[in-house]
Symmetry: C2
Subunit: 309 residues, 2 copies
């Protein structure tokens, strides 16, 4: 185990990376062309947000990250407390109140000529950037138009969707499908034509007062979990089951969940306006999500003070 | 279009990268942590070999690379002649006679806060390393033990296997499956249990004098193509069709094809010796492959002379 250094305070304008065991400006955030994290996308990661100076559900994100590491047989040289300290350190070093904070582990570079991943030294990276919205404020107000692409999300039999991973060619190509047709963003389906997820978000629909979201083949997003928990709290009926594309198209309301925006309403599917935008259930959940960020149980405040003597 | 600079001669010991439009030592081969080539594995690449001072089938590899770029909607700032010049330049700058030469294009980094891949400036990288064997010489002689994992290769409905890509979590995890059981390397199957490919190679079997290889769901490897063409030349019966795992297990001979070794015999499947190792058909094709490298039509010799005045 390595001991992370003391983070600087507000030293790195616009963001901070933690690389090779030290805090550094974003421009130093680079990985080797020969790291399997690039040449095999043999990596896992997680992203947590900080808002108004506090992390939201950091423990849940760290739990998922450690679970992903175990499934991928990746190891980082830090324990949970040290990881927390590094993530706080990145935000503090960048002086950000609202931040997008990533933790990343790659396989690393095996010795020259070897093709055995067991011989590689795994690499750990973290960084804090200004908070990223999955869609711009203007687009959120104007109403996001979501295209349901026929491309299939990589199946769970190939890559475990519970392990947050960078295998996104299907998702990125679906974005081009959407742009080609004049839509704003996209989602993909499974082999049965059920809606799975989009690039960086889970999908929910509301029909006759019941909230629905996919049960499998999707990332178990922390924001998805928040939406599910808020339905329980607010006694909104919830059904977690496959989402046929046609039912999503004819839903009363549709919303997406993401660390990059929380709970955001969708206005149109495939260019056709939904019955309600923003719908009453979505608006209620949206407000409850932002209120939940103020609850002590989910907040992990960043200490921005300079403690050097 | 950019004009690639004149390559140095034998300046970079152990390998050379071409990055940001210039030749550099391997240690400078780095990409941004924020390049979608890493954070979405939104990239394509190709690998060609040079042997005894000449590239083998460089045109075929460049054809495939440009086709992959088009499908992925990626653009490099070099035309075909310039690309050839850069690849030759990497080998020349590293002074390598036997080389593993890669060409890579990533999506790049979209402007801060934007999540639109159309706004990113695509990035091009190339490098030459000492020739890489898919298995060590010792292992080749002792006999490679191939494990058929039950993991499924990412389906064509999600990621086009004809586009050479870095989505390898399924393949890398199958390697761990193999190591756990004491085998040397691995391959994965499709949803029907048919053998597809391994980490960096295609698979062939020989049964009653007929050579078989998978028809779909696999990379259309250039070495696979070479093996197919050699069967035609040598009038060895060939069948390109799905490969049931049990038929591979009970085959007379099995071999793999890869830029990292050409045509290599497999000795065991799941730990059980095959009927013949190395088998007569495999040995014939192995020899024909190395002979083919000497044919002028497929050779592209590197000029290692220093032409500075």
């Amino acid at each position: 185990m390595a001991v992370p250094p003391k983070p600087p305070v507000g030293e790195f304008d616009g963001g901070c990376v933690f690389i090779d065991g030290a805090y550094a400006p974003l421009s130093e955030g680079k990985i080797s062309l020969f790291d399997w994290g690039f040449t095999r996308s043999d990596a896992t990661y997680d992203v947590v947000s900080a808002w108004q100076g506090a992390f939201f559900r950091l423990d849940a994100h760290m739990d998922r990250f450690f679970a992903s590491l175990a499934t991928m047989r990746l190891v980082i040289p830090y324990n949970r407390d040290e990881l927390r300290q590094i993530l706080h350190g990145c935000v503090r070093a960048a002086g950000l109140k609202d931040a997008y904070v990533a933790m990343v582990c790659t396989r690393g570079v095996p010795p020259r000529g070897a093709r055995d991943p067991r011989l590689a030294q795994n690499r750990f990276y973290a960084y804090a950037l200004p908070y990223v919205w999955i869609a711009s404020r203007e687009k959120q107000l104007a109403g996001i138009d979501l295209f349901i692409s026929e491309r299939q999300r990589i199946a769970a039999e190939s890559v475990d969707p519970k392990v947050k991973n960078y295998h996104w060619i299907d998702l990125v190509q679906s974005m081009f499908d959407a742009y080609d047709r004049g839509h704003d963003t996209s989602c993909v389906v499974d082999a049965n034509g059920h809606v799975t997820e989009g690039p960086g978000f889970n999908i929910f629909m509301v029909k006759d007062g019941v909230v629905h979201t996919a049960d499998r083949g999707v990332l178990e997003g922390i924001s998805r979990r928040t939406a599910i928990e808020l339905c329980e709290r607010l006694r909104i009926p919830l059904r977690v089951a496959p989402l046929p594309a046609d039912e999503v198209r004819s839903a009363d309301e549709v919303f997406l969940t993401s660390t990059g925006g929380g709970i955001l309403p969708i206005a149109k599917i495939d260019g056709r306006p939904l019955k309600q935008f923003p719908g009453p259930v979505t608006s209620r959940l949206h407000g409850a999500h932002w209120a939940m960020r103020d609850e002590a149980a989910y907040r992990d405040p960043v200490d921005y003070r300079d403690r050097t003597p």
